[in-house]
């Protein structure tokens, strides 16, 4: 806590100090002349840079489109078909709250420009979107779209502003124990030790991680849906994310050696079992003995 605060303040202070040093010099005529000279140099530099950039762009564009023309066309065709299909789905199911150009609608839904296909994947494949009504938090309900349709929606949103995407491959390829430490450090405070979820303020909640796919957990960390913070790649590296997923899925699949897990909910559930089953059984026992008097 204190270390992050210190590091975030440090560059700010440095910047302020730099500004203070430059400002008194700005008033003098010598400084003005120097500035003029500088701006001329800068303009010249900008021109050259612009030219170079144009050349590079042309080159890149040529190398991208010209050589494997047929293959590239096919791919972009199928991509554009997916985007087009996604747009149609979007217009049918999402446009009311997210707006005609994904810009969002005030008091209804946020802008989707730049959220990336990872966000779409998480929200739609867990059944949170499309939303039935405005609530404290989007509840999970049965998934509306097929996998193909979700892919089309992802393509459409990705095509409009880009954003984070869910990587392919084995998402559990990490260090199990390290994943546990990271999970307890970053996730357990809302999702509970074992990912059972927990209550947040005013009807919001951290959902249970039970039954989620690897990709959904990855997408959630990457995009920070609802009240969840974003765990960008600079906070949890892709390897660390894979470790966390490995841990979450391992303990979800793991048997309970002690017997019935009673929701793995800890002392509250244990107290309930004791008072209902335990004390109940004992009272039954002593009533029985009482009738034997």
């Amino acid at each position: 806590m204190s270390t992050t605060k210190a590091s975030s303040e440090a560059p700010l202070e440095g910047g302020r100090r730099g500004l203070l040093r430059r400002r008194p010099a700005a008033g003098t005529p010598a400084a003005a002349a120097r500035d003029r000279r500088r701006s001329k140099q800068r303009r010249r530099l900008a021109n050259v840079a612009g030219l170079m950039a144009a050349l590079v762009l042309t080159g890149v564009g040529y190398s991208a489109f010209a050589p494997g023309a047929i293959a590239a066309d096919e791919r972009s065709d199928s991509e554009s078909i997916a985007v087009e299909a996604g747009r149609e789905l979007y217009v049918l199911s999402c446009i009311t709250c997210h707006g005609s150009n994904l810009q969002g609608v005030e008091d209804r839904g946020p802008s989707l420009i730049g959220v990336g296909s990872a966000s779409v994947y998480f929200q739609v494949s867990t059944g949170r979107m499309p939303l039935v009504r405005q609530e404290a938090q989007a509840p999970e309900h049965p998934v509306v779209f097929t996998e193909a349709e979700i892919a089309q929606l992802m393509a459409y949103v990705q095509a409009n502003g880009g954003g984070p995407t869910v990587p392919s491959g084995d998402l559990r390829d990490g260090e199990l124990a390290e994943g546990g430490e990271l999970f307890r450090l970053n996730c357990a405070s809302c999702h509970n030790f074992v990912g059972e979820g927990g209550a947040l303020s005013s009807g919001k909640r951290a959902p249970s991680l039970d039954g989620l796919t690897d990709a959904q957990i990855y997408a959630a960390m990457l995009t920070g849906p609802e009240n969840m913070p974003v765990f960008g790649d600079n906070q949890l590296t892709p390897e660390e994310k894979r470790s966390v997923i490995d841990y979450v899925q391992t303990i979800q699949d793991q048997a309970d050696p002690g017997g019935a897990p009673i929701g793995r909910a800890g002392p509250v559930a244990e107290g309930l079992v004791l008072w209902v089953a335990g004390v109940g059984a004992l009272l039954f026992g002593i009533f029985w003995m009482g009738t034997k008097a």
């Binding site: 404290a136 260090e175 199990l176 124990a177 390290e178 546990g180 430490e181 307890r184 450090l185 357990a188 405070s189 809302c190 999702h191 509970n192 030790f193 074992v194 979820g197 927990g198 209550a199 947040l200 303020s201 005013s202 009807g203 909640r205 951290a206 841990y247 391992t250 303990i251 793991q254 309970d256 050696p257 002690g258 017997g259 019935a260 897990p261 009673i262 793995r264 909910a265 800890g266 002392p267 509250v268 559930a269 244990e270 107290g271 079992v273 004791l274 008072w275 089953a277 335990g278 004390v279 004992l282 026992g285 002593i286 009533f287 029985w288 003995m289 009482g290 009738t291 034997k292 008097a293």
Partner: protein, 560 residues
Amino acid sequence: MATTTAAPGAPTSKIGQAALEVDDRLIVAGPLRRTLNKVFPDHWSFLLGEIALYSFVILLLSGTYLTFFYDATMQEVVYEGTYAPLRGVEMSAAYESTLGLSFDVRGGLLIRQIHHWAALLFVASIVIHLLRIFFTGAFRRPRETNWLIGVVLLVLALLMGVTGYSLPDDLLSGTGLRIISAIILSLPVIGTWAHWAVFNGDYVGTEIIGRFYIVHVLILPAIILALIAAHLLILVKQKHTQFPGAGRTEHNVVGNRLFPGFAVKATALLFIVFGLCAALGGLVQINPIWLWGPYNPAQVSAGSQPDWYIGFLDGSTRLFPAWDINLPGDYTIPALFWPTVVGAGLMFTVLALYPMIERKLTGDTAAHHLLQRPRDVPVRTSVGAMALTFYVILWISGGNDLIADKFDISLNAMTWFGRIGCLVLPPFAYWMTYRLCIGLQRHDREVLEHGIETGVIRRLPSGEFIEVHQPLGPVDEHGHGQLAYGGASVPKKMNQVGGARRAIKGFFKPVEEPAEVQRQAELEARGLESEQSDRQSITSGRPSEGGRPSEGGRPQAPRD
């Protein structure tokens, strides 16, 4: 061998002779006879305290086994054991040994779970026992001392629980330890010093697990054992209380002798309690510390709760507003101080002093050995219901985040329910209990005066319908009963005074042939009629004890 010198009545069997030899040296026959002849009342509610005693026995036995494998140090080690998801994680030796105990020691997990379930049951049975004592007035003179010892035992049981579940040094118990540390720090003036004394420095230090261990396995059990012994000795000396009923007075105890009747029952109960703890320990997972992870002060989990008996303190802390008192001189009394130290202190002080408070308020300083039915003391019963309601609301609030999560209620709504509820519902509970008591009292009086409703409707010649009532005793010229209420349960159904056939014996399935029972009942009824037809109306209606169906097919004399 010794036959020639044997006195009259001397034992002739080998065992008898051996016993004689022992008695010659130790002189135990007299006291033993007195003890074995001690009479225990046979009401089921007298077994509640025994459940606490037996769970304590289980705790001692299972706890001893756990000490063989547990390492009470906070030395940092790296786990290299069987449980893969923690391999390579830094943890304290205490946590590592608890993991080893759970996964690598034969029967370790089972014993650990039995120990934990028995601990929950220990406190629960103390509380139920306390409620029975409270609501029946068993704490009245001369038993105030035993009430006081009981309350101290309850507090010690809570401390026992807290020190016990802190020992594994897992993330859940560490969170609790942090709260304990905060509570100690919140004490005005002495807080910091007290904290340094307990933890030997700032939180968390390197000492606390070792200290809690000694407190948990040596100091508290020794005190608890001594107090249990005192509790039982005083009980034997003062003799049991009993519910009023036929033949029961302030000067006797009606029930089973310790041997053999009560000893059989007590042994049966011991095995029931053992069996229950073993079943829970084997079938239901409790405190899976491997899922919680090792304690790390940087980590905390949602849904961190203490065991049930500390839940009320967690609840009071959740409900209490964040009112820090800032005094001049940079001095603060944290809000935590009020719901924990002051709240719990007040609750237990009032509880401990209740017999004296009641004695003062009622002016009743006489010795009592007969219990009261809760309905006959409406004020005490209502006060108890009020306190219980308050406690239960705090208790529910201790788990309010889980309730909010599982039942999809806003956590804020839960908190406000608790805040308003703990102020509004207890008085409501008082009022409702009071009305219930009065209603039950009136119904008792009504049955004594008018008799039991038989359900037989008779139409008079005038066309009026009346229900026939069965008087419980002799009636005056208006048909009103003349029995006075004696503090015992009043029969309110015809089959409680033998109006129905005797119930077929057998708890789970009948152990008698119904036809045979009926034949015998008819025989008995005929015999009763021919022999005692003249006394039927005088004795038939006396309150039968304990609400058990009397023998025979007709109203008859109680079994005294």
